[in-house]
Symmetry: C2
Subunit: 236 residues, 2 copies
């Protein structure tokens, strides 16, 4: 049965839209913020780099469809994502009326395996500042999502989604610096993040480094939830 069976027939021509999902997949290599792009294998914009995404199927929830796109692309499940904005200019897709809902998503880069979706020839990490002209309005989408990430990371503890489960405070600081595009004071950063009391000192140390090994920390999600319920507000 057609899912639009009950739509009055004078409205039928309103039901000719396509909606796609576009994901700005961020990763962090320990030094720079990266974004995962795919090379388009089909028209339109064949050969251009683009954001991974897909058309929304009529029988799929919008958010579960995001999971699918990300799983196709990375082989991973339950990645963190946040909806950003829906772009709906009439002429944004040369083949027809396609709106797109954009998401930024965060991947631990070490978990990632190359698994480009069927639309793509190749998937590749780019430094955020090295992204050239993308297909469609994807540069605009990328910028919007990057801005959203920058404001979200100051008020939500999402940075941990980009790091391995155990990480050093220096890694965390470098991540913040890469995303926010500024230098932070080491002592002040540590004081602040440790005062929030949701990092667990695992008592284990970095290995195979040719200098004093750093302590490894874990994000304590349970404790974070508890203190936010009591009115605590994360902020960096």
């Amino acid at each position: 049965m057609n899912s639009n069976a009950l739509i009055p027939k004078e409205l039928k021509n309103y039901f000719t839209l396509g909606l796609s999902i576009d994901c700005v997949v961020f990763g962090f290599d320990g030094e720079k913020l990266k974004v995962l792009l795919i090379e388009r294998g089909d028209n339109p914009f064949e050969g251009y780099w683009a954001l991974p995404g897909d058309l929304l199927a009529p029988d799929k929830d919008l958010n579960s469809s995001v999971n699918e796109v990300l799983n196709d692309l990375t082989g991973l499940n339950d990645l963190f994502f946040e909806q950003v904005e829906t772009f709906g200019e009439v002429d944004r897709h040369p083949f027809g009326r396609v709106l797109t809902t954009s998401y930024y998503t965060l991947v631990k880069i070490s978990d990632y395996e190359l698994n480009p979706s069927s639309f793509a020839c190749e998937a590749k990490w780019f430094n955020i500042e090295d992204v050239a002209e993308l297909a469609f309005d994807h540069n605009k989408i990328l910028n919007t999502c990057f801005n959203k990430l920058q404001s979200s990371i100051r008020i939500k503890p999402i940075g941990f989604e980009l790091l391995p489960p155990k990480f050093t405070l220096t890694e965390l600081q470098l991540l913040y610096e890469a995303i926010l595009g500024l230098k932070l004071d080491t002592r002040n950063f540590r004081k602040k993040i440790l005062s929030m009391e949701f990092l667990i000192n695992t008592e284990s140390l970095q290995e195979n480094v040719s200098h004093r090994p750093a302590k490894l920390f874990e994000f304590d999600e349970v404790r974070y939830k508890k203190i936010t319920e009591n009115g605590f507000a994360f902020e960096i």
Copy 2:
């Protein structure tokens, strides 16, 4: 010519979605935060109160369509709005697959004239806390948009969109209190807002009040733009 003429035919059944726009129209009566709802005149949810909105036509930009919805509803142009979130659960509309992009919008309540759209029997302002069960998933949308308003008003000078062009500092404070749901200290509020230096003292006074008349202020948008370009960040 059909706008989807170039869509490959194996994808045609992806182009059967409807997308609506739903607007959470906020107003302020000097005391309480209000939201404008319409009574639905048609199925589904006939007789229920709902957010004003409309289906997106295949040949209209998403954002310009918002202007149209608001103009139909209020007779006003160039109202302030901000996109909030797109809701896309498969079963959110009983008649078919309709996603909806939500916006919050701000109206100077004194400018508003009753002009309900053709879908509505009646339009009415409700206190935000008195909103009962709405059509579709509109309660959820309303909550999401209200949350967005609460966070936006702390970091953008949008409160002025809800007040007449000339307003008193008390009116402005009451507005913040109504939206944020808390009491603010008068002296601290005035100190802060005046220190930002984008309010113009018009040198005119309130009239027809049976107490000391308050000074009337205007928002200086030009000056606000100038100082934000120089790195100033609004915050309350």
